[in-house]
C-alpha cells in the first residue's frame, strides 16, 4: 500500500475526530437538568445526543456512498452525512422546544448570557429564578445546527475514507462500526471535558475548554488512526470481517 494513502487515511481520521470533538462542544446539551427545565439545552447527555446525530448522518452517508459502484466522492459523501446529522439535530431541538412551550408553558431562554448574541434579545427577565435557563433559544439552536453539521461531516469523512476502494477498502459494515467507534471515543472525551452542561458557542465554557478538548481529541484520533493504518498494512480488516 502506498505511504501517501496511509498518510491520507491517518490525516482524515484525525480531521474527522477533531470535527467530532468540536461538534460535541457546539451542542446545546442540558443533560438531566434540562429534562426538568432547570438548564438550557437539549434534555440528554452529550454522548447520547451526538451519537444519535452522527449515526443518522452515517446512514445517509452509507446510502450516498453506494451511489458510486467504486471510489465514492469523498467530499460529497461527507457533506451528505453532515446534512443528515444537521437535520436530526434541527428536528430534535425544534420538537423539544414545542414540548417546552406547549407541554410545560416555558419560554426558551439562555442562562449563561444576558443577551442572545444573534437576536440581541434580553434573556434575564424570561429566566425562572434558581434555574440555569430553560428551552433552546435561537443562539443555542444555531449552535446545535452547526454542531450537527460538524459532527456529521467528521463521522462521514472517517466512514468514506475507510470504505473507499482507493483508501482503506474495508467492508461497509466494518467501516461503519470503526467510524462509529472513533466518533464515540471522541464524543466521550469531549463530554468529560465539558463536565455537565453547555449552551453552545456563546457559552463562556466553550471558550475556556475548547482548546483542551481539541488537544485530547487530537491524541485519541491519532491513536485510532494509527490502529486503522496498522489494520490496513497487515490486511486484517481489508475486505471486511463481516
Amino acid at each position: 500500500m502506498e505511504p501517501i494513502t496511509l498518510l491520507l487515511v491517518l490525516v482524515c481520521i484525525i480531521i474527522g475526530g477533531l470535527l467530532s470533538s468540536l461538534a460535541v462542544h457546539l451542542m446545546p446539551v442540558g443533560g438531566a437538568p434540562a429534562a426538568m427545565a432547570t438548564a438550557t439545552g437539549i434534555a440528554t447527555g452529550c454522548v447520547m445526543l451526538m451519537t444519535g446525530a452522527s449515526v443518522t448522518g452515517l446512514f445517509t452517508a452509507s446510502t450516498v456512498a453506494s451511489f458510486w459502484a467504486t471510489n465514492p466522492n469523498v467530499i460529497l459523501v461527507a457533506l451528505s452525512g453532515a446534512v443528515g446529522s444537521m437535520l436530526m439535530m434541527g428536528f430534535t431541538m425544534f420538537v423539544g422546544n414545542l414540548i417546552y412551550i406547549f407541554g410545560a408553558g416555558i419560554v426558551p431562554c439562555s442562562g449563561r448570557v444576558a443577551v442572545d448574541p444573534i437576536t440581541k434579545e434580553s434573556q434575564t427577565e424570561y429566566k425562572t429564578p434558581r434555574t440555569d435557563g430553560h428551552g433552546v433559544p435561537t443562539v443555542s439552536f444555531v449552535s446545535g445546527i452547526l454542531g450537527g453539521f460538524s459532527g456529521g461531516f467528521g463521522g462521514a469523512l472517517i466512514y468514506v475514507m475507510l470504505v473507499s476502494d482507493s483508501y482503506a477498502h474495508f467492508s461497509v459494515a466494518t467501516a461503519g462500526i470503526v467510524a462509529m467507534g472513533i466518533f464515540i471515543a471522541n464524543a466521550i472525551i469531549a463530554a468529560y471535558n465539558i463536565g455537565g452542561t453547555i449552551e453552545g458557542f456563546h457559552d463562556p465554557k466553550f471558550k475556556a475548554r475548547i482548546r483542551t478538548g481539541l488537544t485530547c481529541s487530537l491524541i485519541v484520533s491519532a491513536l485510532c488512526g494509527v490502529i486503522v493504518v496498522i489494520a490496513m498494512l497487515t490486511g486484517t480488516l481489508v475486505g471486511g470481517v463481516m
Binding site: A35, A53, F91, I99, A104, I106, E125, M242
Partner: protein, 318 residues
Amino acid sequence: MPVISLFAWMLVIAFLAFIACMFEDLESDIGSQSNPNSQVQLAPEMGYIHRYFNKAISGEGLSYGLSCTISGTIAMLILLQLGSVGPKAAVLAIPVGAAVGSLVHMVRSSTCHVGRESAHKRFEQPIYLDVFYGHLLPIATHNFMAVICITAIAYIQCNLGILSGVTGASNPFPLPLLCLIWGLTVGAIGSSTGDIHYGTERVFQDKPFGEGRRVVYHGQICRYGDCGVRTSKDVAAFCAKFGGPATGLAFGLIVLFENWRTVIGMLLGGLSIGGLANPAVAAAWGIGIGIGIAIVLVILARTLEKWTRNKYGPFVGE
C-alpha cells in the same frame, strides 16, 4: 412505477418511525428511564416515598441500541435459516426477533428496578411487588412495539432495491447494523424530546405551571394522582396525549426528510430501474435540499421563540 413504489416505501418507513419513537418514549416514561430518573432516584432521599417504577438501565440510546440489535440479529438468523422460503420468512423473523429483544429488555428492567430500590432501603423506600410485577408487561409491550417497528424499518431499507424494483436503492449496511443505528437514534430522540413532558410536567404536576423547575424542587416528585397513589402506569396515559406523539413526530420527520431528500436527489440524478445515471448530481441535490430544510427549521425556531415571548411574556413571580 418503480420510483413511485420507492416513495411509497419511504412513507411506510416514516410511519413506522413515528410509531417506534412514540412507543419508545412512552416505555421510557413508564420505567422512569433516562434523565427524569434522577428525580425518582432522589425522591426517597428527600423523604418522598413513591410507587414509581425505577429503572435506568443505561442511556435510552444504548438501551434501545441493544434491544434493536438483538432483534435484528435474531431476525437475520431466522431469515438465513429460512432462505428457501423467500421474503415471506420476514413475517416470522421480525416479530420473533422483536420478542427476544423485548424479553431481554424486560430482564434488564427487572434487575435494574430491584437493584435500585433495594439500595434505597436506608431511606425506608420499600420494594412494592405489585409495582414491580405490574409494570413489567407494559414495559415489555411498549418496547416490543418500538423494536418491531425499528426492525421492520431496517428490513425494508436492507431490501429496498428488491421491494421497490429500483436497482441500488437498498442500504449497504447489514440488518443488525441498521437496527443498531436506528435503535441509537430512536433512543437519543426519545431521551432528548419526550423526557421533557415527563420530567418537567408530569413528575412535578403539583408545582406551578409555566416555569422551569427550580433546583429546590428537585426530588419533590408528585406522588398522588386524581384518585389514590400514582404509579408509573398513570404517567404513560398522560404523556401519550402530547409528549409521546411529539417525540414520534420528531423521529418520523427526520426519517421522512432524510429519505425524501435522498430520493429527490436520486431522481434529479437520473434515477431509473437500472440505477443512477449521475451519482454526483444526485448527492449534490440531496445536500442542497437538506441545507434548505435546515434553514427553514432555523427560521421556524426563531418565529416560535418570538411568538412565545410575546404570548407568555417575561417571568412573573418570585
